[in-house]
């Protein structure tokens, strides 16, 4: 499960995790910085993609700036034997960006499946959640809207 990265892999990740060089051949730029061949950088990154260390090579958006302002965390109360089926089903919807199982605390906290949904307004999000709820047959859920963002950052790989 845990991938062993050597110093060169780590150096590539440190350079390429925030902002890839915007040049025709970014892997060449990185290779020159590290004193190795372009082909070696590409091979190493491809290996990290194959092993799952690198999930994607892509841009992350500030969705609030795009007008996507209704972003509830939804906590579903799913019977243990249905978690697998419901989790996979919810994950299959394009509008669901995250879908995780988390522990429940009997008698205190009974919600065990969490999804994030992003929409332009509460009305469309609530409609969608209604649809999801009917599709998976789970009626007990919490819509946890964020009323305030105190912090949103990312931990850099160091």
């Amino acid at each position: 499960m845990l991938m062993k990265l050597d110093e060169t892999d780590a150096a590539i990740l440190r350079i390429m995790q925030d902002n890839v060089p915007l040049v025709l051949r970014p892997f060449l730029t990185v290779a020159e910085k590290l004193g190795i061949r372009e082909g070696e950088v590409i091979e190493r990154v491809q290996k990290m993609v194959d092993s799952g260390v690198v999930r994607r090579f892509s841009a992350s958006m500030r969705h609030r700036k795009l007008g996507i302002k209704a972003n509830p965390l939804i906590a579903w109360r799913v019977p243990r034997e249905k978690v697998e089926e419901v989790g996979n089903r919810l994950a299959s919807y394009e509008e669901v960006t995250h879908c995780y199982e988390r522990p429940l605390m009997p008698g205190k906290w009974e919600y065990n499946l969490y999804t994030m949904i992003h929409g332009y307004d509460k009305e469309s999000v609530e409609k969608l959640v209604g649809k999801l709820s009917r599709a998976v047959g789970i009626k007990d859920y919490l819509m946890l809207y964020s009323s305030r963002e105190y912090k949103k950052t990312y931990k850099r790989y160091e």
Partner: protein, 143 residues
């Protein structure tokens, strides 16, 4: 259209931007100008390799806290002083403060959580680490 493409998964090849530029019918240089503008305007937060932090040994969890309404801002500000706290939101629920915390190892995560417990000031706290991932794919449909 460009934004949608850039949220996809670029190929790990010598010229990774070529395909997107071709689709948008512009040169790669023109594409870079547009990307820089999107970064300057703050629409793009970052653009690069997305790392699975768990696979490189990091440990993280989601914590839900129940905090007296009048104390919420103060507790949130205190939590924000921890560099390992990455996301922190007020949410409309009895458990009204939800934050994520990540550390280099399980040990370090536990130490951080212990410290937060010692700081106190809250009524209750639920530690909700991921047990199983069904999906993580933050890709927005741009209107």
């Amino acid at each position: 259209m460009i934004l949608k493409e850039l949220q996809g998964n670029l190929p790990i090849v010598e010229r990774p931007f070529q395909g997107v530029a071709q689709k948008a019918n512009i040169t790669e240089e023109e594409l870079f100008t547009r990307i820089r503008k999107l970064i300057d305007e703050g629409l793009i937060r970052k653009f690069g390799l997305r790392i699975d932090s768990k696979k490189v040994g990091y440990a993280s969890t989601l914590v839900a806290m129940k905090v007296a309404r009048g104390k919420r801002d103060e507790i949130a500000a205190k939590l924000n002083t921890y560099p390992n706290v990455t996301h922190n939101y007020a949410r409309e629920h009895e458990y009204n403060l939800w934050f994520t915390i990540i550390a280099r190892s399980k040990d370090e995560l536990e130490k951080n959580l212990d410290k937060i417990q010692r700081d106190g000031g809250y009524e209750d706290m639920l530690n909700l680490p991921v047990l199983r991932k069904f999906k993580i794919n933050v890709k927005f449909d741009i209107k």
